[in-house]
Amino acid sequence: MTKSATSETKSVVLRAEELSIGYKSGKQVSEIARNISFNLNRGELTGIIGANGIGKSTLLRTLSGIQPVLSGTVTLEQKSLNKYTHTELAREISLVLTEQPPSKNLTVAETIALGRQPYTNWIGNLTENDMLKIQEAITLLDLENIRHRKCYTLSDGQLQKVMIARAIAQDTAVIILDEPTTHLDVYHKTYILKLLKDLAHRTRKSILYSSHEIDLSIQLCDKMLVMTEKRADFGTPFHLIEKGSFQHLFPPGLIEFDCNTGTFRIK
């Protein structure tokens, strides 16, 4: 594996320190999670694991600038996240969301081309460089044979690939994916996560995703962030297993983490 290569050129793209996340409406502040610290490095795949409602989506929304940080800092490329304008941020972070696009009448190529919006002029003209980036994304995700198909004719797995290609075309240092494996069968789940790992290593992008696929993530991630009620642990999967982070992931009694196999078992 490329472990040695990544450790040599390890460079931090995004750094979160003592982060506290949640919702603010008026004077009322409802904190969802606190004390989250982690780094996203170039060329690494990072997975966020946690039970339902622990704040994975809120964390991703905060990192992508949709929601303000309650306390703590997020630094992106040595600059505080809240100092970025809309367009600047769009050139650094791209998103792949769980929600289906409302209009699926776009073709695959058109959808991917939308990823170039942060770079195009006021009316959205594509330059030759834009076309090049779009073609790169199409080739990278092997979408050449369906590039003229309409999105409503695609399967869930294909659509997910298209949305990932769109994020690649956006040409950002960080790609954030919110539960990219929902609605997919076990083969396609593995396929997508494996693909993300390859993309992170090949394109030197930092890819962050949230998921419920704990066993797959343990096998595939370079780094993991395990969110529990009390704390958020960050490190390599091996390190986290040693530390016993997965033991506290769910309420005790029903299932139990097996350190030897890296999977959960019914008690």
């Binding site: 929600e99 009448n105 058109e110 919006q117 959205g124």
Partner: protein, 340 residues
């Protein structure tokens, strides 16, 4: 978006169709004027008979231009609403803009007389009242949209404003005299005729403003096709572009309702009809396409309205509904799902 197809041929065809419909529209009417004379008056400015000159230049041409302006303007506002609200059934009516205009006119015709104040009821005062009414509803919708993040909520609020205004109109009509009520009902039928060149100029400026604002929104409209969250992640300033799109719609729909009365279904149906020919969601193709299609459809509807060829023309609002509603039903039945 990648320009996969440029749709040159449909655009050329529709431009020809527009010119043809325009000429046919002018040649139809209660007075029979030969087609050759129509062409000659447009190019030379005169025909064999002076009466024909007068009819064509002061009645039929303004009416045809009015049809083009209303058709294309309403179609554009429908397209903008459908993309902004991610709802294939959105149109200028849904935001309550048209009902706001109706409320303004109803207050002018019926409210003033109930209160014992008499106004000079001309088409200009109707226009002012309608614009004021639609503008007030628009202000309410915009102020709500600044607070509410969810576009679906704005859509529902628009519908509620519509309900309130129509309730007020009902109350007003209950108390007003038969004569005033008739006057209001005639306005609500909609009319493309009786527009002078000054009013036409004013409306053209409004429609042009609306279209320019839509052109400025093209990029954000395309990004909104993937939903607001994706659009934001691609650098679109959601609040600002939403404001621009809503403002464009209300200028178009408010202005048109002011001068031509409430005209139903054009805003809703034309974007769907256009997508049958131009099978794309790229707004850079769709915007000019709905402008052409809306103009053509409105000219056709107006031609049908004067079909009896008597001194009476049918109410244009009824014609657009009769043409528009079955089209929407047909599209739904045939495709089972409205894709936008």
């Amino acid at each position: 978006m990648t320009p996969v197809k440029s749709y040159k041929i449909p655009f050329i065809l529709f431009s020809f169709l527009l010119i043809l419909c325009f000429l046919v529209n002018i040649s139809l009417g209660s007075v029979r004027i030969p087609f050759g004379q129509i062409v000659s008056v447009l190019f030379n400015g005169e025909t064999d008979k002076q009466a024909w000159d007068y009819i064509i230049l002061n009645y039929r041409v303004p009416k045809a231009i009015m049809a083009v302006l209303t058709g294309s303007g309403l179609a554009v506002s429908g397209l903008l609403m459908q993309t902004l609200f991610r709802n294939p059934l959105a149109g200028p009516f849904v935001l309550g803009i048209s009902s706001g205009a109706s409320l303004g006119v109803a207050l002018l015709i019926m409210g003033a007389s109930t209160l014992g104040i008499s106004f000079f009821l001309s088409s200009v005062s109707f226009a002012i009242a309608a614009t004021a009414g639609s503008f007030l509803v628009l202000l309410a919708v915009i102020s709500v949209s600044l607070k509410v993040r969810d576009t679906m909520a704005i859509l529902i609020i628009g519908l509620m404003f519509g309900s309130i205004t129509s309730a007020v109109v009902s109350v007003l009509s209950y108390f007003s005299s038969a004569e005033k009520l008739q006057q209001y009902i005639f306005w609500s039928f909609g009319s493309l005729g009786n527009t002078g060149w000054t009013e036409l100029l004013l409306l053209s400026v409004l429609v042009l403003c609306g279209i320019v604002m839509s052109i400025l929104s093209l990029k954000s409209l395309n990004s909104l096709l993937l939903g607001e969250n994706y659009a934001r992640s691609m650098g679109t300033d959601i609040r600002q572009s939403r404001l621009l799109i809503i403002a464009a719609t209300s200028i178009l729909a408010g202005g048109i309702t002011a001068f031509a009365g409430p005209i139903a279904f054009i805003g809703l149906a034309v974007p769907h009809l256009t997508r049958q020919v131009f099978n794309t969601t790229n707004h850079r193709i769709l915007l000019p396409a709905v402008i052409l299609y809306g103009a053509v459809l409105m000219l056709v509807c107006d031609a049908i309205a004067q079909w009896p060829a008597n001194e009476h023309t049918l109410p244009i609002n009824a014609i657009t509904s009769i043409v528009g509603a079955p089209v929407v039903v047909w599209l739904l039945v045939r495709k089972r799902k409205m894709i936008f």
